[in-house]
């Protein structure tokens, strides 16, 4: 999916969030979050339950309106973009809890992932690529998505997001509810995608697993960024160790 906005300086972040605020009624969920994602990076956004991670992704996808600050995509403000246009601009969002079309087949879910695309041959090729990445989906392509195991559902959610060929792939807690072995499997796939050049913004509570594959990380607490650093540095950070890394 090519972007219509020409990249300016090589240093311009793909996604730049500046002092973003989001309110749910009178409750402030984000109190001025700033973060950047550069092309080709795998950035992780960490934090405990209720910190505001999902809200951040939902604001980027324009599912929640910002009450302050701005979100720049290729340097252009997203404020006036309706939610159903963000994927067209190149922002793919694999939402919390997978949100599959549970009554529809695996194949239908993947087909809808490519809803905006018209390049039939490339879609067919991407479909095969997804089935190659997740062989278990290929075996179950005619099954109802709701009948898959938790791990398979997560694979399907990721594959569906990939079918939209997003320039930025945002994932909201893909490890949630998965056994450790499956978490490792999901992280391996994300690392592979990253190695192939896919830009990724990964929201996680499982800091250890996310930091092992990420370039950089941010730690969100009560709607504010508390820490930001390289992944390797964060893995050694005593504060983070105490709070999230179990030691």
């Amino acid at each position: 999916m090519s972007s219509r906005i020409a990249p300016q300086a090589a240093t311009q972040p793909l996604l730049q969030i500046e002092r973003l605020q989001v309110h749910y009624g009178s409750v402030q969920a984000l109190a001025g979050v700033s973060l950047q994602v550069h092309r080709g990076e795998l950035v992780t956004l960490l934090g405990s339950n209720g910190a505001g991670k999902s809200t951040t992704l939902r604001a980027i996808s324009r599912l929640e309106p910002a009450s302050g600050g701005r979100i720049l995509w290729h340097g252009a403000n997203l404020a006036a973009v309706p939610a159903h246009r963000t994927l067209k601009l190149g922002i793919g969002h694999c939402p919390e809890g997978r949100r599959l079309l549970n009554r529809q087949s695996v194949a239908f879910n993947l087909e809808l992932g490519a809803y905006l695309r018209r390049d039939r041959e490339a879609i067919a090729a991407d479909l095969e690529r997804c089935y190659g990445l997740f062989p278990r989906l290929a075996e179950r392509r005619q099954q109802q998505a709701g009948a898959l195991s938790g791990g398979e559902q997560q694979m399907l959610a990721i594959a569906r997001a990939l079918m939209g060929r997003p320039e930025l792939l945002m994932l909201d807690e893909p490890s949630l509810g998965l056994a450790p072995k499956l978490v490792a499997e999901v992280m391996t796939v994300l690392a592979e995608l990253h190695a192939n050049g896919q830009t990724i913004l990964l929201v996680e509570q499982n800091a250890q697993a996310a930091l092992e594959i990420a370039d950089r990380g941010y730690v969100l607490e009560a709607g504010r960024i508390q820490l930001q650093d390289n992944a390797t540095a964060l893995l050694r950070n005593p504060q983070l160790k105490a709070a999230y890394l179990g030691g």
């Binding site: 996808s61 599912l63 309706p82 939610a83 159903h84 246009r85 963000t86 994927l87 067209k88 969002h93 939402p95 949100r99 599959l100 079309l101 549970n102 009554r103 529809q104 239908f108 087909e111 809808l112 992932g113 809803y115 905006l116 709701g146 569906r160 939209g164």
Partner: protein
């Protein structure tokens, strides 16, 4: 004997087809918004009157413009189509007036039951103002039906041609709608919105446009039903669509809320059951319809083909 039975079954299937059209109209809107559009019966009436006017019918003595008529006399299939489009357009207007403002303000969706009922009442009263409360029979010559034989010989039985047409046209509409939902890009988008509007949005689907499309199609189905009934029976007055709207509601629940095959099967079951009631006992027809509904709901609370409430994870 055979002849009478065949005629009875066909009558049942024909009105069942119309019930299915109405129920499908409800189904489309229920799937995408989770609410019932109570203006559906009024759109049914509207479709009947529009068909009458497009066939070249004149306004009666109690109407606003007695003796006035459209300067056209379309063939019946074209009149049906144009009337259905007209009802669809008014369906869109109902969405604008009775549904969209509530959604924009994040109001309780149940409130739209009241606003849509209000829109329906206004529409029926406008029809009454324009056309008067009297009944109308469709103009025979202009209908383009005049050169069709009054009845057909099928399997040794004489069947009223209009019933065959009724059944064929509603079957075509139902099949067309099902194929469209199953195979077209916009049909798939509608299925996605029906299941999860947020997910659909993230996949690039404009769910507001899909909702509007549902209202357009739903209004068209109601309008088509009204035109067909007007043609086979007559227009009994501006309220005639309301009873079909209620019957369609019963069919909707009978078949299973939100299920397309359920609306079709439910419509046929209802139509056939009614037709099997002998003419002497015709006063019991509506009672029977709701007795069937009651029995089915006791045995299967989610309707004939409704999903059981298991899969909510």
């Amino acid at each position: 004997m055979i002849e009478a039975l065949l005629q009875t079954l066909l009558n049942g299937a024909a009105s069942g087809g119309v019930y299915a059209l109405v129920a499908l109209g409800y189904t489309l809107i229920f799937s995408v918004l989770g609410v019932i559009n109570f203006a559906q019966g009024a759109l049914f009436s509207l479709g009947g009157y529009l068909t009458y006017l497009f066939l070249g019918g004149k306004i009666g003595v109690n109407g606003a413009l007695p003796g006035w008529g459209l300067p056209v006399g379309l063939p019946f299939w074209l009149a049906l189509l144009v009337a259905a489009l007209g009802s669809g357009a008014v369906g869109l207007l109902v969405e604008r007036i009775a549904f969209a403002p509530l959604r924009r303000r994040g109001a309780e969706p149940l409130l739209s039951l009241i606003t849509s009922l209000g829109a329906g009442v206004v529409l029926v009263n406008l029809l009454q103002l324009l056309m008067g409360a009297e009944g109308y029979a469709f103009p025979q010559g202009a209908a383009g039906l005049a050169h069709l034989p009054e009845s057909l010989l099928i399997g040794g039985a004489r069947i009223r041609t209009i019933q065959v047409l009724l059944l064929a046209i509603s079957a075509l509409a139902v099949a067309g709608l099902s194929l469209w939902l199953e195979n077209s890009r916009s049909g798939k988008a509608m299925r996605a919105v029906a299941e999860d509007a947020t997910t659909a949005t993230l996949l690039g689907i404009n769910s507001v446009a899909v909702v509007r499309l549902a209202f357009l199609l739903s209004g068209m189905l109601a309008g088509l039903g009204g035109g067909l009934i007007g043609m086979s029976v007559s227009l009994a007055g501006p309220y005639f669509g309301i009873s079909y709207g209620l019957k369609g509601l019963a069919v909707l629940v009978l078949g299973g809320l939100g299920s397309v095959p359920g609306a079709i099967v439910g419509g046929l079951v209802m139509g056939l059951a009614e037709a099997l009631i002998p003419a002497e006992a015709s006063g019991w027809r509506d009672a029977l319809a709701f007795a069937i509904l009651f029995a089915v709901l006791v045995l299967r609370p989610s309707g004939l083909l409704g999903r059981r409430q298991l899969e909510k994870v």
